[in-house]
Symmetry: C2
DNA sequence: TGTACATCAGTGAACGCGCGTTCACTGATGTAC
DNA sequence: TGTACATCAGTGAACGCGCGTTCACTGATGTAC
Protein backbone atom coordinates (compact mmCIF):
# COMPACT_ATOMS: atom_id res chain seq x y z
CA UNK A 1 0.00 0.00 0.00
CA UNK A 2 1.73 3.12 -1.12
CA UNK A 3 1.63 6.31 0.86
CA UNK A 4 0.75 8.34 -2.16
CA UNK A 5 -2.49 6.86 -3.30
CA UNK A 6 -3.30 3.90 -1.10
CA UNK A 7 -4.01 1.17 -3.52
CA UNK A 8 -6.57 2.73 -5.75
CA UNK A 9 -4.32 2.18 -8.73
CA UNK A 10 -1.67 4.47 -10.10
CA UNK A 11 -2.83 7.99 -10.65
CA UNK A 12 -1.57 10.60 -13.00
CA UNK A 13 -1.99 14.29 -12.74
CA UNK A 14 -5.60 14.05 -11.65
CA UNK A 15 -6.55 12.32 -8.52
CA UNK A 16 -9.94 11.22 -9.67
CA UNK A 17 -11.79 11.18 -6.41
CA UNK A 18 -10.14 13.73 -4.22
CA UNK A 19 -13.28 14.97 -2.54
CA UNK A 20 -14.09 11.52 -1.24
CA UNK A 21 -10.52 10.92 -0.26
CA UNK A 22 -10.36 14.11 1.76
CA UNK A 23 -13.37 12.95 3.71
CA UNK A 24 -11.67 9.63 4.33
CA UNK A 25 -8.56 11.50 5.42
CA UNK A 26 -10.55 13.59 7.86
CA UNK A 27 -12.16 10.50 9.38
CA UNK A 28 -8.82 8.80 9.77
CA UNK A 29 -7.16 11.85 11.28
CA UNK A 30 -10.03 12.62 13.66
CA UNK A 31 -9.87 9.03 14.82
CA UNK A 32 -6.17 9.35 15.51
CA UNK A 33 -5.94 12.81 16.98
CA UNK A 34 -9.39 13.99 17.88
CA UNK A 35 -11.74 16.35 16.07
CA UNK A 36 -9.50 19.36 16.52
CA UNK A 37 -6.29 17.54 15.87
CA UNK A 38 -6.30 17.56 12.13
CA UNK A 39 -5.49 20.29 9.69
CA UNK A 40 -6.34 20.98 6.11
CA UNK A 41 -2.71 20.43 5.17
CA UNK A 42 -2.77 17.11 7.00
CA UNK A 43 -5.69 15.94 4.97
CA UNK A 44 -3.99 16.93 1.73
CA UNK A 45 -0.87 15.05 2.74
CA UNK A 46 -2.90 12.00 3.67
CA UNK A 47 -4.52 12.03 0.24
CA UNK A 48 -1.13 12.39 -1.42
CA UNK A 49 -1.87 15.73 -2.96
CA UNK A 50 -0.44 19.23 -2.81
CA UNK A 51 -1.62 21.53 0.00
CA UNK A 52 -3.47 23.72 -2.46
CA UNK A 53 -5.55 20.92 -3.94
CA UNK A 54 -8.23 20.70 -1.22
CA UNK A 55 -9.30 24.26 -2.01
CA UNK A 56 -10.82 22.97 -5.24
CA UNK A 57 -13.34 21.02 -3.16
CA UNK A 58 -13.83 22.74 0.17
CA UNK A 59 -13.69 26.38 1.12
CA UNK A 60 -11.80 25.55 4.30
CA UNK A 61 -11.30 23.07 7.06
CA UNK A 62 -14.62 23.90 8.68
CA UNK A 63 -16.51 23.12 5.54
CA UNK A 64 -14.80 19.77 5.31
CA UNK A 65 -15.69 19.06 8.92
CA UNK A 66 -19.28 20.02 8.30
CA UNK A 67 -19.39 17.71 5.33
CA UNK A 68 -18.05 14.88 7.46
CA UNK A 69 -20.71 15.58 10.07
CA UNK A 70 -23.42 15.49 7.38
CA UNK A 71 -22.26 12.17 6.05
CA UNK A 72 -22.04 10.94 9.61
CA UNK A 73 -25.65 11.77 10.36
CA UNK A 74 -26.68 10.21 7.07
CA UNK A 75 -24.94 6.96 7.87
CA UNK A 76 -26.17 7.12 11.45
CA UNK A 77 -29.79 7.42 10.28
CA UNK A 78 -29.40 4.39 8.06
CA UNK A 79 -27.83 2.33 10.79
CA UNK A 80 -30.61 3.22 13.20
CA UNK A 81 -33.29 2.52 10.64
CA UNK A 82 -31.86 -0.89 9.84
CA UNK A 83 -31.48 -1.71 13.50
CA UNK A 84 -35.02 -0.71 14.33
CA UNK A 85 -36.29 -2.91 11.52
CA UNK A 86 -39.80 -1.49 11.79
CA UNK A 87 -40.04 -2.65 15.35
CA UNK A 88 -40.10 -6.35 14.58
CA UNK A 89 -40.51 -8.87 16.01
CA UNK A 90 -41.32 -6.90 19.16
CA UNK A 91 -40.62 -3.29 20.04
CA UNK A 92 -38.44 -4.24 22.97
CA UNK A 93 -36.33 -6.51 20.75
CA UNK A 94 -36.08 -3.71 18.26
CA UNK A 95 -35.13 -1.19 20.93
CA UNK A 96 -32.37 -3.45 22.05
CA UNK A 97 -30.98 -3.53 18.52
CA UNK A 98 -31.40 0.21 18.23
CA UNK A 99 -29.35 0.86 21.35
CA UNK A 100 -26.67 -1.56 20.27
CA UNK A 101 -26.46 0.14 16.89
CA UNK A 102 -25.97 3.50 18.58
CA UNK A 103 -23.18 2.17 20.76
CA UNK A 104 -21.54 0.40 17.87
CA UNK A 105 -21.64 3.51 15.80
CA UNK A 106 -19.80 5.41 18.54
CA UNK A 107 -17.22 2.67 18.78
CA UNK A 108 -16.71 1.88 15.13
CA UNK A 109 -17.03 5.32 13.63
CA UNK A 110 -15.17 7.54 16.04
CA UNK A 111 -14.41 10.03 13.28
CA UNK A 112 -18.05 10.51 12.41
CA UNK A 113 -19.18 10.43 16.02
CA UNK A 114 -16.74 13.14 17.07
CA UNK A 115 -17.58 15.30 14.06
CA UNK A 116 -21.28 14.96 14.80
CA UNK A 117 -21.31 15.47 18.52
CA UNK A 118 -18.05 16.90 19.77
CA UNK A 119 -16.37 18.91 17.07
CA UNK A 120 -18.10 22.17 17.80
CA UNK A 121 -19.63 22.22 14.33
CA UNK A 122 -22.65 24.42 14.87
CA UNK A 123 -25.66 22.36 13.88
CA UNK A 124 -28.05 25.24 13.83
CA UNK A 125 -26.12 27.38 11.40
CA UNK A 126 -26.57 25.27 8.33
CA UNK A 127 -30.11 24.26 7.43
CA UNK A 128 -29.05 21.20 5.46
CA UNK A 129 -26.96 19.85 8.31
CA UNK A 130 -29.74 20.53 10.72
CA UNK A 131 -32.21 18.68 8.58
CA UNK A 132 -30.00 15.64 8.23
CA UNK A 133 -29.24 15.65 11.94
CA UNK A 134 -32.93 15.88 12.74
CA UNK A 135 -33.60 12.90 10.55
CA UNK A 136 -31.50 10.71 12.84
CA UNK A 137 -33.61 11.76 15.75
CA UNK A 138 -36.78 11.07 13.78
CA UNK A 139 -35.80 7.42 13.79
CA UNK A 140 -35.93 7.42 17.55
CA UNK A 141 -39.07 9.45 17.51
CA UNK A 142 -40.86 7.02 15.22
CA UNK A 143 -39.79 4.14 17.40
CA UNK A 144 -41.14 5.91 20.45
CA UNK A 145 -44.48 6.50 18.70
CA UNK A 146 -44.90 2.81 18.10
CA UNK A 147 -43.96 1.99 21.65
CA UNK A 148 -46.37 4.49 23.11
CA UNK A 149 -49.16 3.32 20.84
CA UNK A 150 -49.09 -0.03 22.60
CA UNK A 151 -50.09 1.56 25.86
CA UNK A 152 -53.64 2.13 27.02
CA UNK A 153 -54.85 5.44 25.73
CA UNK A 154 -55.32 6.88 29.18
CA UNK A 155 -52.04 8.00 30.66
CA UNK A 156 -49.95 7.64 27.54
CA UNK A 157 -46.77 9.64 27.85
CA UNK A 158 -45.86 12.00 25.03
CA UNK A 159 -43.87 10.14 22.40
CA UNK A 160 -41.51 13.07 22.03
CA UNK A 161 -40.54 12.85 25.67
CA UNK A 162 -39.99 9.14 25.47
CA UNK A 163 -37.81 9.59 22.40
CA UNK A 164 -35.73 12.23 24.17
CA UNK A 165 -35.30 9.98 27.17
CA UNK A 166 -34.12 7.10 25.06
CA UNK A 167 -31.80 9.36 23.19
CA UNK A 168 -30.34 10.78 26.40
CA UNK A 169 -29.63 7.52 28.07
CA UNK A 170 -28.17 5.97 24.97
CA UNK A 171 -26.09 9.00 24.22
CA UNK A 172 -24.89 9.18 27.80
CA UNK A 173 -23.70 5.60 27.80
CA UNK A 174 -22.14 5.96 24.35
CA UNK A 175 -20.29 9.14 25.29
CA UNK A 176 -19.02 7.86 28.58
CA UNK A 177 -18.40 4.18 27.98
CA UNK A 178 -18.48 3.31 24.30
CA UNK A 179 -16.30 5.98 22.80
CA UNK A 180 -13.13 4.93 21.04
CA UNK A 181 -10.68 7.46 22.45
CA UNK A 182 -8.75 7.93 25.65
CA UNK A 183 -11.63 9.74 27.33
CA UNK A 184 -13.57 6.47 27.61
CA UNK A 185 -14.49 5.54 31.18
CA UNK A 186 -14.00 1.98 32.24
CA UNK A 187 -17.10 -0.03 32.97
CA UNK A 188 -17.36 -3.32 34.85
CA UNK A 189 -19.78 -4.73 32.29
CA UNK A 190 -20.69 -4.46 28.64
CA UNK A 191 -22.10 -1.08 27.71
CA UNK A 192 -24.88 -2.93 25.87
CA UNK A 193 -25.92 -4.69 29.04
CA UNK A 194 -25.96 -1.50 31.05
CA UNK A 195 -28.15 0.12 28.42
CA UNK A 196 -30.47 -2.82 28.10
CA UNK A 197 -31.04 -2.98 31.83
CA UNK A 198 -31.72 0.73 31.91
CA UNK A 199 -34.15 0.53 29.03
CA UNK A 200 -36.06 -2.29 30.68
CA UNK A 201 -36.36 -0.41 33.94
CA UNK A 202 -37.45 2.70 32.10
CA UNK A 203 -40.09 0.83 30.09
CA UNK A 204 -41.35 -0.78 33.24
CA UNK A 205 -41.62 2.65 34.80
CA UNK A 206 -43.73 3.71 31.86
CA UNK A 207 -46.07 0.86 32.61
CA UNK A 208 -45.10 -1.37 29.72
CA UNK A 209 -44.85 -5.04 30.43
CA UNK A 210 -41.78 -6.62 28.84
CA UNK B 1 -9.98 46.71 33.76
CA UNK B 2 -6.57 46.65 32.21
CA UNK B 3 -5.56 44.03 29.70
CA UNK B 4 -2.32 43.38 31.50
CA UNK B 5 -3.43 42.27 34.88
CA UNK B 6 -7.16 42.47 35.08
CA UNK B 7 -7.78 44.39 38.21
CA UNK B 8 -5.72 42.49 40.68
CA UNK B 9 -3.67 45.62 41.42
CA UNK B 10 -0.52 46.82 39.72
CA UNK B 11 2.18 44.25 39.39
CA UNK B 12 5.89 44.64 39.04
CA UNK B 13 8.32 42.16 37.66
CA UNK B 14 6.67 39.23 39.37
CA UNK B 15 3.16 38.28 38.62
CA UNK B 16 2.37 36.89 42.02
CA UNK B 17 -0.12 34.24 41.11
CA UNK B 18 0.64 33.20 37.59
CA UNK B 19 -0.20 29.54 38.04
CA UNK B 20 -3.73 30.37 39.09
CA UNK B 21 -4.06 32.95 36.40
CA UNK B 22 -3.03 30.49 33.71
CA UNK B 23 -5.76 28.17 34.85
CA UNK B 24 -8.24 31.01 34.67
CA UNK B 25 -6.95 31.82 31.19
CA UNK B 26 -7.42 28.23 30.08
CA UNK B 27 -11.00 28.20 31.35
CA UNK B 28 -11.80 31.43 29.60
CA UNK B 29 -10.22 30.35 26.34
CA UNK B 30 -11.80 26.90 26.35
CA UNK B 31 -15.14 28.56 26.93
CA UNK B 32 -14.59 30.82 23.96
CA UNK B 33 -12.97 28.48 21.48
CA UNK B 34 -13.41 24.94 22.65
CA UNK B 35 -11.01 22.62 24.42
CA UNK B 36 -8.63 22.40 21.48
CA UNK B 37 -8.88 26.01 20.55
CA UNK B 38 -6.46 27.48 22.98
CA UNK B 39 -2.69 27.53 22.96
CA UNK B 40 -0.02 27.92 25.56
CA UNK B 41 0.93 31.23 24.02
CA UNK B 42 -2.69 32.33 24.19
CA UNK B 43 -2.82 31.62 27.88
CA UNK B 44 0.36 33.60 28.49
CA UNK B 45 -1.02 36.54 26.56
CA UNK B 46 -4.27 36.38 28.47
CA UNK B 47 -2.36 36.50 31.75
CA UNK B 48 -0.31 39.44 30.48
CA UNK B 49 2.99 37.65 30.64
CA UNK B 50 5.75 36.70 28.22
CA UNK B 51 5.34 33.45 26.25
CA UNK B 52 8.17 31.84 28.18
CA UNK B 53 6.67 32.45 31.60
CA UNK B 54 4.17 29.54 31.66
CA UNK B 55 7.05 27.10 31.46
CA UNK B 56 7.91 27.94 35.05
CA UNK B 57 4.61 26.39 36.11
CA UNK B 58 3.59 23.77 33.56
CA UNK B 59 5.66 21.46 31.41
CA UNK B 60 3.38 22.04 28.45
CA UNK B 61 -0.13 22.73 27.31
CA UNK B 62 -1.28 19.21 28.11
CA UNK B 63 -0.19 19.47 31.69
CA UNK B 64 -2.12 22.69 32.04
CA UNK B 65 -5.20 21.02 30.56
CA UNK B 66 -4.83 18.10 32.91
CA UNK B 67 -4.59 20.48 35.83
CA UNK B 68 -7.77 22.19 34.68
CA UNK B 69 -9.52 18.83 34.45
CA UNK B 70 -8.41 17.97 37.99
CA UNK B 71 -9.72 21.19 39.41
CA UNK B 72 -12.88 20.64 37.45
CA UNK B 73 -13.53 17.25 38.99
CA UNK B 74 -12.73 18.65 42.41
CA UNK B 75 -15.27 21.43 42.04
CA UNK B 76 -17.75 19.04 40.46
CA UNK B 77 -17.52 16.69 43.45
CA UNK B 78 -18.20 19.52 45.82
CA UNK B 79 -21.15 20.77 43.86
CA UNK B 80 -22.66 17.30 43.74
CA UNK B 81 -22.06 16.74 47.42
CA UNK B 82 -23.73 20.00 48.37
CA UNK B 83 -26.64 19.31 46.06
CA UNK B 84 -27.19 15.85 47.44
CA UNK B 85 -27.22 17.26 50.96
CA UNK B 86 -27.10 13.80 52.50
CA UNK B 87 -30.32 12.88 50.79
CA UNK B 88 -32.54 15.21 52.79
CA UNK B 89 -35.39 15.75 53.12
CA UNK B 90 -36.20 12.83 50.81
CA UNK B 91 -33.96 10.98 48.38
CA UNK B 92 -36.10 11.95 45.43
CA UNK B 93 -35.89 15.62 46.39
CA UNK B 94 -32.16 15.21 46.74
CA UNK B 95 -31.87 13.46 43.40
CA UNK B 96 -33.67 16.29 41.77
CA UNK B 97 -31.14 18.72 43.18
CA UNK B 98 -28.29 16.43 42.16
CA UNK B 99 -29.41 16.35 38.57
CA UNK B 100 -29.94 20.09 38.47
CA UNK B 101 -26.44 20.60 39.86
CA UNK B 102 -24.99 18.42 37.11
CA UNK B 103 -26.81 20.34 34.41
CA UNK B 104 -25.87 23.67 35.92
CA UNK B 105 -22.27 22.66 36.09
CA UNK B 106 -22.28 21.85 32.37
CA UNK B 107 -23.91 25.18 31.63
CA UNK B 108 -21.99 27.44 33.97
CA UNK B 109 -18.57 25.86 33.80
CA UNK B 110 -18.13 25.02 30.14
CA UNK B 111 -14.36 25.27 30.45
CA UNK B 112 -14.21 22.70 33.20
CA UNK B 113 -16.84 20.50 31.62
CA UNK B 114 -15.05 20.34 28.28
CA UNK B 115 -11.68 19.71 29.92
CA UNK B 116 -13.19 16.91 31.99
CA UNK B 117 -15.25 15.14 29.40
CA UNK B 118 -14.33 16.24 25.91
CA UNK B 119 -10.77 17.40 25.75
CA UNK B 120 -9.21 14.02 25.13
CA UNK B 121 -7.23 14.24 28.36
CA UNK B 122 -6.60 10.59 29.11
CA UNK B 123 -8.08 9.93 32.53
CA UNK B 124 -6.45 6.59 32.98
CA UNK B 125 -2.89 7.78 32.45
CA UNK B 126 -2.54 9.82 35.58
CA UNK B 127 -3.43 8.16 38.87
CA UNK B 128 -4.15 11.41 40.65
CA UNK B 129 -6.56 12.57 37.97
CA UNK B 130 -8.22 9.21 37.95
CA UNK B 131 -8.68 9.28 41.68
CA UNK B 132 -10.21 12.74 41.67
CA UNK B 133 -12.47 11.83 38.77
CA UNK B 134 -13.60 8.70 40.56
CA UNK B 135 -14.47 10.73 43.59
CA UNK B 136 -17.13 12.59 41.60
CA UNK B 137 -18.71 9.34 40.67
CA UNK B 138 -18.60 8.19 44.28
CA UNK B 139 -21.06 10.95 45.08
CA UNK B 140 -23.55 9.37 42.72
CA UNK B 141 -22.70 5.96 43.99
CA UNK B 142 -23.34 6.92 47.60
CA UNK B 143 -26.64 8.47 46.64
CA UNK B 144 -27.62 5.28 44.83
CA UNK B 145 -26.76 3.22 47.91
CA UNK B 146 -29.14 5.22 50.03
CA UNK B 147 -31.86 4.97 47.45
CA UNK B 148 -31.50 1.23 47.08
CA UNK B 149 -31.46 0.75 50.84
CA UNK B 150 -35.03 2.01 50.95
CA UNK B 151 -36.22 -0.89 48.86
CA UNK B 152 -37.35 -4.25 50.20
CA UNK B 153 -34.33 -6.49 50.54
CA UNK B 154 -35.64 -8.98 48.02
CA UNK B 155 -35.06 -7.80 44.49
CA UNK B 156 -32.85 -4.86 45.31
CA UNK B 157 -30.92 -3.80 42.23
CA UNK B 158 -27.15 -3.37 42.55
CA UNK B 159 -26.39 0.15 43.69
CA UNK B 160 -23.52 0.36 41.23
CA UNK B 161 -25.83 -0.23 38.33
CA UNK B 162 -28.31 2.35 39.56
CA UNK B 163 -25.50 4.88 39.95
CA UNK B 164 -24.30 4.21 36.41
CA UNK B 165 -27.81 4.62 35.06
CA UNK B 166 -28.30 7.91 36.79
CA UNK B 167 -24.94 9.08 35.60
CA UNK B 168 -25.68 8.10 32.02
CA UNK B 169 -29.01 9.77 31.75
CA UNK B 170 -27.82 12.93 33.43
CA UNK B 171 -24.68 13.04 31.35
CA UNK B 172 -26.64 12.42 28.19
CA UNK B 173 -29.00 15.29 28.82
CA UNK B 174 -26.17 17.57 29.89
CA UNK B 175 -24.06 16.77 26.83
CA UNK B 176 -26.90 17.13 24.36
CA UNK B 177 -29.05 19.87 25.80
CA UNK B 178 -27.30 21.74 28.59
CA UNK B 179 -23.92 22.44 27.08
CA UNK B 180 -22.87 26.01 26.60
CA UNK B 181 -21.42 25.86 23.10
CA UNK B 182 -22.76 25.72 19.57
CA UNK B 183 -23.16 21.94 19.65
CA UNK B 184 -26.12 22.26 22.00
CA UNK B 185 -29.33 20.73 20.66
CA UNK B 186 -32.52 22.65 21.05
CA UNK B 187 -35.10 21.22 23.37
CA UNK B 188 -38.77 22.11 23.61
CA UNK B 189 -38.65 22.17 27.41
CA UNK B 190 -36.27 22.79 30.27
CA UNK B 191 -33.47 20.23 30.47
CA UNK B 192 -34.20 19.96 34.19
CA UNK B 193 -37.78 18.95 33.51
CA UNK B 194 -36.75 16.33 30.98
CA UNK B 195 -34.32 14.86 33.47
CA UNK B 196 -36.75 14.96 36.35
CA UNK B 197 -39.41 13.14 34.36
CA UNK B 198 -36.91 10.54 33.28
CA UNK B 199 -35.69 10.02 36.83
CA UNK B 200 -39.22 9.56 38.10
CA UNK B 201 -40.04 7.01 35.44
CA UNK B 202 -36.80 5.19 36.13
CA UNK B 203 -37.41 5.10 39.87
CA UNK B 204 -40.90 3.85 39.30
CA UNK B 205 -39.47 1.10 37.10
CA UNK B 206 -37.21 0.13 39.97
CA UNK B 207 -40.27 -0.27 42.14
CA UNK B 208 -39.81 2.84 44.24
CA UNK B 209 -42.90 4.82 45.06
CA UNK B 210 -42.41 8.56 44.70
C1' DT C 1 -12.17 10.05 -37.01
C1' DG C 2 -9.27 14.17 -36.06
C1' DT C 3 -8.45 18.48 -34.47
C1' DA C 4 -9.07 22.80 -31.82
C1' DC C 5 -10.43 24.56 -27.89
C1' DA C 6 -12.57 25.22 -23.21
C1' DT C 7 -12.74 23.63 -18.83
C1' DC C 8 -11.39 21.22 -14.94
C1' DA C 9 -8.40 19.69 -11.24
C1' DG C 10 -4.21 19.44 -10.09
C1' DT C 11 1.05 21.64 -9.12
C1' DG C 12 4.66 23.92 -6.64
C1' DA C 13 6.63 27.98 -5.06
C1' DA C 14 5.91 31.66 -2.21
C1' DC C 15 4.23 34.56 1.65
C1' DG C 16 3.08 36.00 6.31
C1' DC C 17 1.86 34.34 10.65
C1' DG C 18 1.71 32.42 15.19
C1' DC C 19 3.19 28.65 17.93
C1' DG C 20 6.38 26.03 20.86
C1' DT C 21 10.58 26.17 22.92
C1' DT C 22 15.23 27.55 24.47
C1' DC C 23 18.47 30.73 26.29
C1' DA C 24 21.18 33.92 28.85
C1' DC C 25 19.54 37.45 31.40
C1' DT C 26 17.57 40.23 35.40
C1' DG C 27 14.50 42.14 38.84
C1' DA C 28 12.35 40.86 43.27
C1' DT C 29 12.18 38.33 47.40
C1' DG C 30 13.71 35.64 51.32
C1' DT C 31 17.23 34.38 54.60
C1' DA C 32 21.63 33.84 57.27
C1' DC C 33 24.56 36.18 60.00
C1' DT D 1 19.21 46.66 61.59
C1' DG D 2 22.08 46.05 57.61
C1' DT D 3 24.36 43.48 54.22
C1' DA D 4 25.56 39.58 51.17
C1' DC D 5 23.95 36.07 48.84
C1' DA D 6 20.87 32.35 46.97
C1' DT D 7 16.79 31.47 44.84
C1' DC D 8 12.82 32.32 42.41
C1' DA D 9 9.91 33.93 38.67
C1' DG D 10 9.89 36.68 35.35
C1' DT D 11 11.91 38.93 30.40
C1' DG D 12 12.70 39.33 25.55
C1' DA D 13 15.03 37.89 21.62
C1' DA D 14 15.71 34.21 18.78
C1' DC D 15 14.98 29.85 16.22
C1' DG D 16 12.74 26.39 13.37
C1' DC D 17 8.43 24.73 12.01
C1' DG D 18 4.05 23.89 9.91
C1' DC D 19 -0.18 25.97 8.69
C1' DG D 20 -3.37 28.58 5.72
C1' DT D 21 -3.73 30.75 1.59
C1' DT D 22 -2.76 32.75 -2.98
C1' DC D 23 -0.92 32.64 -7.52
C1' DA D 24 0.33 31.79 -12.20
C1' DC D 25 0.95 27.63 -14.16
C1' DT D 26 -0.04 23.04 -16.55
C1' DG D 27 -1.52 18.39 -17.55
C1' DA D 28 -5.75 15.78 -18.51
C1' DT D 29 -10.31 15.41 -20.07
C1' DG D 30 -14.51 16.44 -22.56
C1' DT D 31 -16.84 18.39 -26.49
C1' DA D 32 -18.04 20.83 -30.95
C1' DC D 33 -17.50 20.50 -35.52
Amino acid sequence: MSWKHRGRGPRGYHHGDLREDLVRAALELIKEKGPAGFTFADAARWAGVSPAAPYRHFRDRDQLLTDVAKRGFQLFSERLREAWGEGKPTPSEAFKRLGAAYLNFARQEPGYYAAMFESGVPIGDEPELREIADRSFQQLRAAAEILVARMPEKGRPPALMVALHIWSMTHGIASLFARADAARRTLPMRAEDLLEAQTLIYFKGLGLEP
